[in-house]
């Protein structure tokens, strides 16, 4: 039985993988833990954040989730730690610390 792409991981036997690695459903990149690539980690100081959301369009990986017009944190499953958010934050609410752990 061939699995859906979202159910294929490094333990999937070859008989259950799609031929040629074809992907039959949309938006499967969300299942890839690109956060594991991180060597530096942005940290959000919620006291300083004014929810101007300037950081959001600058994030190359859509890793700054917004709910009801407010920045609700950092999506560490996908954030690669580039640090652009900290560069563009006018209030010093985002800073980068060394290492991959939040």
């Amino acid at each position: 039985m061939i699995r859906r792409a979202k159910d294929i991981d490094e333990l999937t036997p070859w008989r259950e993988m799609t031929l040629g690695g074809e992907i039959y459903e949309p938006a499967t990149s969300q299942y890839v833990n690109t956060g594991a690539w991180r060597t530096n980690t942005p940290v959000l100081d919620t006291e300083k954040c004014r929810h101007c959301l300037l950081c959001v369009p600058f994030c190359p990986d859509s890793s700054l989730p917004v709910k009801d017009g407010r920045l609700v944190g950092i999506d560490y499953y996908h954030c690669k730690g580039c640090g652009i958010c900290a560069e563009v934050c006018p209030f010093g609410a985002l800073s980068v610390k060394e290492g991959g752990e939040p």
């Binding site: 070859w14 993988m17 031929l19 690695g21 074809e22 039959y24």
Partner: protein
């Protein structure tokens, strides 16, 4: 209905394409395959086919266009030779690993250099490990028949691999021969429609093809390709059986000629088999038990079947129309000889490289090979296993 015509090998392939009426043809001219897109472009201009003809700027692009078209859900074909095939090299692997059953008419020509436009098998042999099915023809009839069988083989869900239909440049591609054609309705019924389960233009089900594989997925996809190539063997025979019902012409993985009681045998590919059969016929008249095997399918390689067919042979020569510069023999020699290794007893085998760059080969050449095999079979020395035939000494 079958009817008789006179066509060159290139005309036969172009005519087969016209009868199939594929969705897309993308091709770039290169000798000696140029006539195939040339004839086909005329069919397009005259409105005789519904095909989208893409006159690309290179063979890298023709294979890329075929990949895009086939992935979109279209049936795509191309034709090429020699350096054109070499320029496709990268995309040939992409087509096979993306499991896109494109059909390529390969008109075999020496791969430069020195630059040469005549026939040998160095172009398709050089790309034998790309994951394409390879089927070779002895003459125009076989080239036409093989092309009609390509799509039912490659497009089958158990296979899903691209197929290369090879014929010898000029010798077959440009020589006019009598040929029996199948009427177009029967061709269309035999070849059928291309109906992939998933394709880029299927709006109900978005598809991504050719994604990046990390080490944790790559090998599994390669095993799938290897399994598909194993499956192809049975499918090739199935399609051949269906083809025989329609045309009366019988095909297998190889043709065994006078092999039932043969003590001395050759294995070779392509048009030279016709010449070698003339040598076999003469030897048979003299009471020599000579035979030959003309390999039709090189990928998948019919190792078990060849071993069975050659089990009783005393001395065997394997003839390559391509160098591999291994300093030990050509690719056909290596693979056939390896296929015989587990036989007990096994034939004594020698290899020849011949016919490079269009070098002529005559029945007398094959006669001298059989003479040597007779000496080996009688207990004589094997001598050097890797030699050339037809060069000036």
């Amino acid at each position: 209905m079958n009817y008789n015509e006179r066509l060159s090998g290139n005309e036969a392939i172009a005519f087969a394409m016209k009868q199939i009426d594929p969705d897309v043809m993308a091709a770039f001219p290169i000798t000696p395959s140029t006539e195939i897109p040339q004839y086909f472009a005329q069919y397009v201009a005259d409105g005789e086919v519904n095909t989208e003809f893409v006159p690309v700027e290179s063979e890298h692009s023709s294979m890329s266009a075929c990949i895009g078209a086939e992935a979109a859900g279209a049936r795509a074909v191309t034709a090429t030779s020699s350096c054109g095939l070499a320029l496709m090299y990268e995309m040939m692997y992409v087509a096979a690993s993306s499991r896109l059953p494109i059909t390529l008419a390969c008109v075999n020509r020496a791969l430069t250099g020195p630059i040469n436009i005549n026939n040998d098998h160095s172009d398709s042999m050089g790309i034998r490990d790309a994951g394409w099915i390879q089927i070779y023809a002895e003459n125009n009839q076989e080239a036409y028949d093989n092309f009609l069988q390509a799509m039912p083989i490659g497009e089958h869900p158990d296979v899903r691999l691209p197929v290369m239909i090879c014929q010898d440049g000029f010798i077959t591609s440009h020589a006019l021969e009598n040929i029996t054609l199948l009427d177009t309705d029967s061709v269309k019924a035999f070849v059928g429609e291309y109906t992939p389960e998933n394709y880029l233009l299927k709006k109900e089900n978005p598809l991504a093809i050719g994604p990046y594989d990390l080490g944790c997925h790559y090998m599994e996809h390669k095993v799938q390709q290897a399994e598909a190539m194993k499956n192809a063997k049975a499918r090739i025979l199935e399609v051949a059986a269906e083809f025989e019902k329609v045309t009366g012409r019988k095909y297998g993985l190889f043709e065994a000629y006078q092999m039932e009681d043969a003590d001395l045998a050759l294995v070779l590919i392509g048009s030279s088999a016709g010449t070698a059969k003339a040598a076999v016929d003469r030897l048979r008249k003299e009471g020599v038990r000579a035979g030959l095997i003309k390999l039709r399918v090189f990928r998948p390689f019919p190792a078990e079947e060849l071993a069975e067919a050659l089990r009783h042979v005393k001395a065997l020569a394997i003839l390559d129309k391509a160098e591999s510069f291994s300093a030990h023999g050509g690719p056909l020699f290596s693979e056939v000889r390896a296929a015989l290794y587990d036989l007990e007893p096994r034939p004594r085998t020698v290899g020849y490289v011949y016919g490079l760059g269009g070098r002529d080969v005559t029945p007398d050449h094959f006669r001298s090979v059989y003479d040597r095999l007779a000496r080996i079979a009688a207990g004589g020395d094997l001598g050097p296993v890797y030699t050339h035939m037809g060069q000036r000494e």
